[in-house]
């Protein structure tokens, strides 16, 4: 009996000593002043806090990785869906617009003419749709933990790059089959992809922030995507517009620049889209900046409303 008590006491002593044996170092005291944060109500237009966004790049990476990983789980065809979407659309377009309606295609076989546009378009359309619904889908995260909310729409657009890459490989295969050799202009492809990314993110930020409050957005997106697709020269070439100024203004739809740029870089269409691209880039930047500020402004209400 007594020996048990003694043992109990000894274990207690040992347990008590342990934290001292591993001394908690001082850096806490040194670090403490380094992190000072004032939490207060924000008013009006707030800063974008891009530095903080950079600090959370690992979270961005993990969320993107999760989206990619989860996207085709529990599907039969898996990642093939990334190819099927633009490919089937291409088949339908070639059949009806190319063969029946005989829509001109800048002297390029219609299937590859439309597919070269559908690849970046699908990336944009999916990115826009997914980022617009992303905040609502991440409601449980938003209500339980802090991080720059911009991470959510950004990661959902980035995760589409994998799909894009798969569809792009098919595009290369088609070019091979049609014997089309890309020009040196392919070096502009990353820039064009970035343009599509910026546009998708710009729209995505606007719509996702609105979606938090009004779920109408969810119903707008399919309609908007369809409308936008026909407002972009995918099934037809922009060269149908003969007036140069009008054609340049057509670039106000940033996807016009992206799509025409893709054709120009890969298929060497003779309509060099220089001015269109310039206008498109400016429009995309406008969308991105306004979207980011709008998003940041609405951000404070997300956790309360979503």
């Amino acid at each position: 009996m007594d020996s048990e008590i003694v043992q109990d006491l000894m274990t207690e002593v040992i347990v008590e000593e342990q934290p001292e044996a591993v001394p908690t170092p001082a850096p806490r005291a040194e670090l403490a002043p380094a992190y000072h944060l004032r939490i207060e109500p924000s008013r009006g237009w707030v800063s974008l806090k891009l530095r903080e966004l950079w600090e959370y790049r690992e979270l961005l990476y993990f969320l993107t990785w999760r989206d990619v990983k989860v996207r085709y789980k529990q599907t039969v065809l898996g990642a093939a869906w990334a190819i099927i979407q633009p490919l089937m659309t291409m088949v339908v377009f070639s059949l009806f617009f190319g063969n029946l309606a005989k829509i001109p295609s800048d002297g390029i076989p219609y299937p590859i003419f439309s597919y070269a546009a559908l690849v970046p378009w699908t990336f944009f359309a999916n990115g826009m749709g997914q980022s617009s619904n992303s905040l609502v889908g991440a409601a449980n995260l938003i209500k339980k933990i802090y991080f720059p909310r911009l991470v959510i729409p950004i990661s959902s657009v980035i995760s589409g790059v994998v799909d894009f890459a798969l569809a792009f490989v098919v595009l290369l295969g088609m070019m091979l089959a049609y014997g089309i050799v890309p020009t040196l202009n392919v070096v502009f492809l990353p820039f064009l992809l970035l343009l599509a990314f910026v546009t998708a993110l710009g729209v995505g930020m606007w719509l996702s922030a609105m979606n938090v409050q009004f779920r109408d957005v969810r119903y707008i997106i399919p309609f908007l995507t369809q409308f936008w697709m026909f407002a972009t020269p995918i099934a037809y070439p922009s060269s149908l517009i003969e007036n140069d100024l009008l054609r340049t203004l057509y670039g106000l739809n940033p996807m016009t620049g992206v799509v025409e740029g893709f054709r120009w870089a890969l298929l060497d269409t003779d309509t060099a889209p220089g001015p269109i691209l310039l206008v498109s880039t400016l429009a995309a930047i406008g969308l991105l900046v306004s979207g980011a500020y709008y998003f940041r402004r609405m951000e404070k209400t997300f956790a309360d409303v979503v």
């Binding site: 934290p19 403490a32 002043p33 992190y35 999760r66 339980k144 802090y146 009004f214 409303v305």
Partner: protein, 413 residues
Amino acid sequence: MSNVAVRVENLGKLYRIGGKQERYRTLRDTLTDAFAAPFRRASSLLRGQAYGAAGLREEIWALKDVSFEVRHGEVVGIIGRNGAGKSTLLKILSRITEPTEGYADVYGRVGSLLEVGTGFHPELTGRENVYLNGAILGMSREEIDRKFDEIVAFAEIERFIDTPVKHYSSGMGLRLGFAVAAHLEPEILVVDEVLAVGDAQFQKKCLGKMSDVAGEGRTVLFVSHNMAAVRNLCEKTALLEGGLLSFLGETSLAIHKYQLGLSDSQSQATSYGVAEFTNVSIGKNGNGTVELDESFEVRCLLNCHADIEMFRLYCIIRDGNGEVVAHLFRRHLEILKRGAHSLRIQFPPLWLRPGVYDLHFKLIPDSLQIGPRRILSEIHILSVLGKEDLQAELCLGKLIPTVQWRIDFHARE
């Protein structure tokens, strides 16, 4: 001053909740509103105002004028009833939502733990979810790499770490979630009611981990309804009531006040015109707290506005659940003259399980009339009987008397 970890100054948070639906009087009003509402909402959306969605007009301050300071290394409990503002306070401190007014200064990195397993994806495996959840909670990849084995061991799911989480039992998921969170190392940790996870054994483990964290000199803000946990972990406790900070100080006191449910007035007297109870005091120092094994006295004044002949004095003691613990009365045939009378009731040690009890005194005329008796005066006194004692809390039962155990160890043939 430099030692301050969290300083909260006049913090307030206004929520708009659905107000009463206005009644439409005419069809025209209904129609015009149906047309105008989308435009109004769209414009509020563009102007960056929230709450346009449901026309929420009713306002409620979830938190108001809350100010306090927490120093580095302090473990502070936050208690209060549902809706008192505890979670709102934590949400503001962890930057999930913005305050409406006031500010909070935070010195140090804040890690918040308002839910276990935030962001777990059912399709991903346990391993993948550890990384994802860790990143969401603000850990870097190397940090997770380093602690991975420890986390898995803590959650006790080594065998299933590469199984998708959707095949986990709910307990396994929660354990894994807590395990990740428990290995966070922020300077200031904000924790909401997440200890109630898993079975009793795992809960014990969680509590142990929490007290380790507290012991490491980290600053912890801990919301809980589990008073035993708060008492174990926190030296200081804040009591929130209706969005206001009503008390911040020693934990046992805060818990007493919380259990009393009233910060100042502990008694509620109702007079029916003829007589009234006043100046109540209980126990030695009159603060309503009585030791477990202590005899005590209830003193009060009975103010009579008229002569009362023949009456009964009732004393009913109820526990926190409203169950009657003792029902006592005394018939008096004497006349209670008009004026103030001092009244003393002497109780023996009651050995009641520590807690808050309602002492209910009633004065009733004792007549031979049939029918309900008219109550002349009554008083409810809330009192903490039986001082807080950890051991007592572990015991079931309503009484905890100190008894003598006598066992005859000599076996009789």
